[in-house]
């Protein structure tokens, strides 16, 4: 006879692993913003902006990838108050955390773990078109911040 308790335990174990993966991914973005904040003092924040629905529909939400945009905003800018953000990449994440993917400028990096995600984000920031966009976000503060 099938051991259903074993099956449930296996499911719970996988669920816990998914939670850990998702937390780990959050820590990568937290560390990114910590480093940016040290240098740019809040003038450059990078976030994932999730869309409300999945590709197929809400009923399948748990088994489909989570789709989001990676956006930059200037936390010191007056424009920020009206949620002005600049799209710099597209983001997809498996419900189990990994793989997750980041796509920009004709490249899509599908990351299987934390280290590869960190490298993909490093490649994103090192891209000259993305860097130029980020510079505009940082400089937006010069003209738009409320004194």
């Amino acid at each position: 006879m099938i051991n259903f308790v074993d099956s449930l335990n296996k499911g719970l174990e996988l669920s816990q692993q998914a939670d850990e993966n998702n937390k780990e991914i959050d820590t990568v973005f937290a560390e990114l913003n910590r480093q940016l904040n040290d240098v740019y003092a809040g003038k450059l924040v990078i976030e994932r902006q999730y869309v409300a629905t999945s590709r197929i529909g809400a009923t399948n939400l748990k088994i489909n990838p989570v789709v989001a945009s990676v956006v930059a905003r200037n936390g010191k800018s007056r424009m920020d108050k009206s949620n002005t953000t600049t799209l710099i990449a597209n983001w997809e994440k498996s419900p189990t955390g990994y793989p997750c993917s980041i796509a920009f400028c004709g490249q899509k990096y599908i990351c299987e773990d934390k280290e590869s995600l960190e490298l993909a984000i490093a490649d994103l920031l090192a891209n000259p078109f993305v860097a130029k966009t980020l510079l505009k976000v940082i400089n937006a503060e010069l003209t738009e911040t409320v004194e």
Binding site: P65, Q107, I110, E112, D113, S116, L119, D123
Partner: protein
């Protein structure tokens, strides 16, 4: 309307320390002209290209009405080595994306996605070009993972529209029966299964695994036989492998207005190309492959 697709690994070996010879480049130019003039190719994808080879081919190939698109290049961690030529009055490439899978510090290319517009057809056609790394650098277990990840990309299209036109083509460095292509990419030889389960991909290159000619008593089949697309003279069990393949979504197998013409799909095996591939003095080791798609005429 008819669309003819050709894939060819040119064997230029752009990562090699030795550059491709003038003669090799010139031969590829003449073969490209032949693809266009004799086969009426509309879409030609080439592998083992770099910027220099692309520029040479574009300059010295005498064909008109084609747009050349260099998809080769090195990003931070990966080298892509393909280019495409599309007949401008029929096809337009709308977007391209390089697909890379990374684990820790290792990155592997799984393909390049092209979104293509076809004249007099409303839906975008998604094409995935792949030149997977060879067996020495990537064992089948890892290669299966490449198949699964490429399949994820195909799923993003087919899950929302089972009848979407999707074509995969390339040099997979794996046979049609390899796990990477069957369970990994969900491709099959069984077209009835594809009709019933439209998320499966149909792989017509299962037909091209074996000897091109049957054995016959009294006919010497041992000298110039061909049973695949890739020739490796020192292969201990077989010298031939069917590494170059095209895979089609179910819409081309009776699910839409476009139909795969299997009679015209297969390995391009002229005596000249065959001799280039088996000649040890030449660098060529792949034969080109072809497929033809035909659209039903509207009677509105």
């Amino acid at each position: 309307m008819k669309l003819t697709l050709v894939w060819w690994n040119t064997s230029f070996a752009p990562l090699s320390k030795t550059a491709a010879s003038e003669s090799h480049l010139n031969t590829v130019c003449r073969v490209l002209e032949w693809f266009v003039e004799q086969l009426q190719a509309d879409f030609i994808a080439l592998a083992e290209i770099n910027d220099d080879y692309f520029n040479y081919l574009e300059q010295y190939t005498n064909i008109n009405g084609f747009r050349w698109l260099n998809l080769s290049g090195k990003n931070e961690r990966i080298t892509f080595d393909t280019c495409v030529l599309v007949r401008e009055d029929k096809l337009q490439i709308l977007d391209t994306q390089n697909l890379i899978v990374s684990k820790a510090t290792n990155s592997v290319k799984i393909g390049q996605k092209l979104i293509m517009a076809v004249a007099d057809y409303d839906l975008p056609v998604h094409i995935f070009l792949s030149h997977w790394t060879n067996v020495r650098d990537c064992y089948e277990a890892d290669r299966q993972h490449l198949g699964i990840r490429l399949r994820d990309e195909v799923d993003t299209i087919l899950q929302s529209d089972h009848s979407a036109p999707v074509i995969l083509l390339g040099d997979y460095n794996a046979e049609p029966f390899a796990d990477s292509l069957t369970t990994g990419l969900s491709s099959t030889r069984d077209m009835t299964r594809v009709r019933k389960k439209p998320l499966l991909l149909y792989n017509p290159f299962w037909r091209h695994l074996g000897e091109a000619k049957s054995y016959k008593h009294g006919v010497d089949a041992t000298t110039k036989n061909r049973c695949g697309t890739y020739y490796y003279k020192s292969g201990s069990i077989t010298r031939w492998h069917t590494f170059d393949q095209m895979l089609f979504s179910s819409c081309f197998i009776g699910g839409n207005a476009w139909h795969l013409n299997e009679e015209l799909t297969g390995i391009i095996d002229t005596p000249e190309l065959f001799n280039l591939v088996i000649d040890a003095k030449q660098k060529f080791d792949h034969l080109p492959i072809i497929s033809v798609l035909e659209k039903e005429t509207s009677h509105d």
